[in-house]
């Protein structure tokens, strides 16, 4: 059967139909775009050296996305996290972030965990003038001074000094006032920074350094270091170490009977559940930095609910069961973004960055205000003292009292037991 209509008429009908489809599809297309989720992209250490913290951090971010989506999303759109495992290798970061931006077409990029994973992403975000929120990076923006970078670690604008400052402020207030200091740390990134900062403060307070040394990062026994320090009998022993050597140092100090007046300071890892339960009573008396502990002075709105949900989920997923160290901060840096998107009603990178810079943000880790280079305007590094730990039971650390805050005064929740030797 053939059509009776002339070919010209058929062509016109086709054009009209196509135009109608095109005109009709326009609004539908924009509705479809509006219904698309807001994509947030990041690389996270899910394997490699930082995975033990990377996995819980990602879980906290996923909890935030679920919480937001339950409330109806952001700007009426659901939130979707797109993430890749950076394997704790900086070399994987450039490809991951360009994949997120060029292939996955994410709306926002956020950093993975740690200074070394943030640094390689910086040129990419700077090049494209993007907003970039960092998770626990130390002085990443010092060189770039990029105005749209913000970092959630509460170490203030001079992190190397601020990380140990409350320790030294606490030390010089004690009676009898300590005079001599031993400082020791690993030959690695953070310890080098922390020791340099400590030297600055020690000089300012007129204390005398009697021992100042570093050891190779893969050292498996620190008893010789502890013995060398003990022979000099310093009043203060300041340690800047990474998790494996933090544990070794605590064990070595016990083994050789090292009894200074104040011991600890910058030991990374003592905050982690694995070491808390491994070292247990051996940690009593140590004064060490922390960022959040379940003490009454740090009960910010939402934190208890978050931890309750986190801990239930962590048990099932086999990640850090306590979640005090990194997860609240991972959740909080997402909250800063949420606050900015809701505040500006936009996904415009510059508007979001301007909003974050100018405003204070309510999060589960307290009010956050950013200052120079996107670091916290005022440091909130805490010094806690491990007290009354009798067993290695995990449950005890969920309650207040085992890690009371002894400095700064604003957040103080307990009294320092001084000297350290009195504890044992």
């Amino acid at each position: 059967m053939t059509s009776k209509r002339a070919p010209g008429t058929r062509a016109w009908i086709s054009i009209v139909v196509l135009l109608a489809i095109a005109v009709g599809a326009g609004p539908w297309a924009s509705i479809a775009r509006a219904a698309d989720p807001i994509k947030i992209g990041l690389g996270m250490a899910l394997t490699g050296g930082l995975a033990a913290n990377g996995k819980p951090a990602l879980m906290a971010m996923q909890m935030w996305a679920e919480d937001v989506n339950k409330k109806g999303g952001l700007l009426g759109r659901q939130v979707q996290l797109i993430y890749y495992d950076d394997q704790t290798k900086p070399a994987t970061v450039p490809a991951i972030y360009s994949k997120l931006l060029d292939v996955d077409k994410v709306d926002i990029v956020m950093s993975g965990y740690g200074t070394n994973m943030i640094a390689p992403a910086m040129p990419i975000v700077i090049d494209r003038k993007l907003l970039f929120l960092g998770l626990f990076g130390l002085a990443n923006n010092e060189k770039f001074q990029y105005p749209n970078y913000f970092q959630i670690l509460p170490a203030g604008q001079n992190p190397a000094v601020e990380v140990s400052l409350p320790f030294w402020e606490l030390a010089v207030k004690q009676t009898p006032k300590p005079q001599t200091v031993a400082i020791v740390g690993a030959d690695a990134e953070y310890p080098h920074n922390a020791l340099a900062g400590a030297r600055e403060v020690i000089k300012k307070y007129g204390l005398k350094i009697v021992y100042d040394a570093t050891y190779p990062p893969n050292t498996t026994d620190l008893t010789s270091v502890a013995r060398a320090i003990k022979a000099l009998d310093p009043d203060i022993v300041f340690v800047a170490s990474y998790p494996p050597d933090s544990a070794l140092m605590v064990q070595a100090a016990h083994e050789v009977g090292l009894k200074p007046k104040l011991f600890g300071g910058g030991m990374v890892g003592l905050q982690f559940t694995a070491l808390l339960t491994k070292l247990g009573p051996k940690m009593n008396g140590i004064v060490n930095y922390d960022y959040w502990v379940p003490e009454p002075t740090l009960k910010f709105p939402g934190i208890e609910d978050f931890l309750k949900r986190y801990q239930a989920r962590a048990e099932k997923e086999g990640v850090d069961p306590l979640g005090h160290y990194l997860p609240p901060w991972a959740y909080a840096y997402c909250q800063v973004l949420e606050h900015a998107i809701n505040g500006t009603k936009s996904l415009d990178q510059q508007k979001l960055a301007d909003y974050i810079r100018k405003n204070e943000h309510d999060t589960i880790v307290g009010k956050v205000k950013f200052g120079k280079n996107g670091e916290w305007e005022t440091s909130r590094v805490l010094m806690v003292q491990y007290q009354g730990i009798e067993t290695s039971d995990l449950e005890q650390f969920k309650k207040p009292g085992k890690r009371p805050i002894v400095a700064p005064d604003k957040y103080r929740s307990g009294t320092l037991i001084y000297p350290y030797s009195k504890v044992k």
Binding site: D85, Q87, K89, P90, D102, A119, D187, A188, E189, H192
Partner: protein, 324 residues
């Protein structure tokens, strides 16, 4: 392949790379391709000593890192252009290769391998404590945003690595087919016999360590601008040693084509794994493929193809024999 044909193909690849960089703007592909090409250079370099000569070198990270740190020093000292960084990185790593060759080539087998591994540890400790290059905490670098003719600097880096890969392959192919390659093969098969036959074994081994080291340094030289952050942990990563050994093993270690096949196959698999299965499977992939090849095709893909071709040729001859 004749020298002229190789040069023609290489020129074509360079031009094609340039044209692609003008058309394709998606930066992800350049970052991914850069890493794969970097492994072509490393695997080819490793193969000159490990495959041709039979001396297994675990010190790839040392040479790669030395190339990268030479660039860091040159950038800090005089803001040197990339060309100078490449020359500097290759020269310093080549000199290290020569020096290490003198010190360690009297060792054989596993003892030589352990010595090269120790070299990486010693150098890493040195850089961890050298504050000028950032020490243990590392150093952030600001790379130029653009490059003439290429627009974005990442596209330029991709083209540079493409040229370096072709250069490394060219050097390896030339060595393989020259009297040096034949001498190295003699050393690999039986060093004492080669020595008795008048092959200058120590001198040839020194050539191999120097060239291999220089090419590894060449691969490391653009790394600071690629990643923009250099710290000892990432440049001395043992992954470089594992990959540069696994790739020629999988591709075939007796010919210059083998490392290219291995690097492209494994490198691509790793890049895909990073953004798809997103887990520690990267190293597992290398391990499983390596074990499979060692068992099923000990001479690598090239050896497997050659064996299959020979078998087919034999079958054809047999059929001809029967027919006549």
């Amino acid at each position: 392949m004749s020298q002229r044909a190789f040069l023609a193909v290489a020129a074509l690849v360079v031009v094609a790379g340039f044209l692609v960089s003008r058309v394709l703007t998606n930066q992800y592909y350049y970052f991914a391709a850069y890493v794969i090409l970097q492994y072509v250079v490393l695997a080819t370099a490793w193969n000159i000593l490990g495959g041709y000569t039979g001396y297994v070198n675990f010190g790839t990270p040392a040479f790669f890192a030395l190339g990268a740190y030479t660039s860091v020093v040159l950038i800090k000292m005089m803001n040197a252009p990339l060309g100078l960084q490449l020359v500097g990185g290759a020269a310093v790593a080549g000199l290290l290769g020569l020096g290490i060759g003198y010190l360690t080539l009297r060792l054989r087998g596993v003892f030589f391998s352990i010595a090269t591994l120790a070299l990486a540890v010693v150098l890493q400790t040195l850089f961890v404590n050298w504050e000028y290059t950032g020490g243990a905490r590392g150093l952030s670098l600001i790379r130029p945003a653009t490059a003439p003719l290429f627009g974005h600097y990442v596209q330029f880096l991709f083209e540079v690595m493409l040229i370096l890969a072709l250069f490394a392959v060219g050097v390896a192919a030339w060595i393989e087919h020259s009297w040096i390659g034949r001498g190295l093969a003699a050393i690999r098969d039986n060093e004492e016999a080669a020595e008795c036959m008048g092959v200058p074994t120590l001198r040839l081994k020194l050539v191999a360590t120097t060239v291999s080291g220089a090419l590894m340094g060449l691969a490391g030289a653009p790394f600071p601008y690629f990643v923009t952050f250099v710290e000892p942990g990432s440049v001395f990563d043992l992954n470089y040693a594992v990959n540069s050994l696994a790739m020629p093993m999988i591709g075939g270690s007796t010919t210059w084509v083998g490392p290219i096949i291995g690097a492209v196959l494994l490198g691509t698999a790793q890049q895909v794994a990073t953004v798809t299965i997103s887990s520690a499977l990267n190293l597992l992939i290398v391990g499983v493929i390596l074990v499979a090849f060692v068992i099923l095709a000990p001479e690598g893909i090239v050896g497997l193809i050659q064996r299959l071709a020979r078998r087919r040729e034999g079958d054809v001859r047999l059929a001809h024999g029967k027919a006549t």
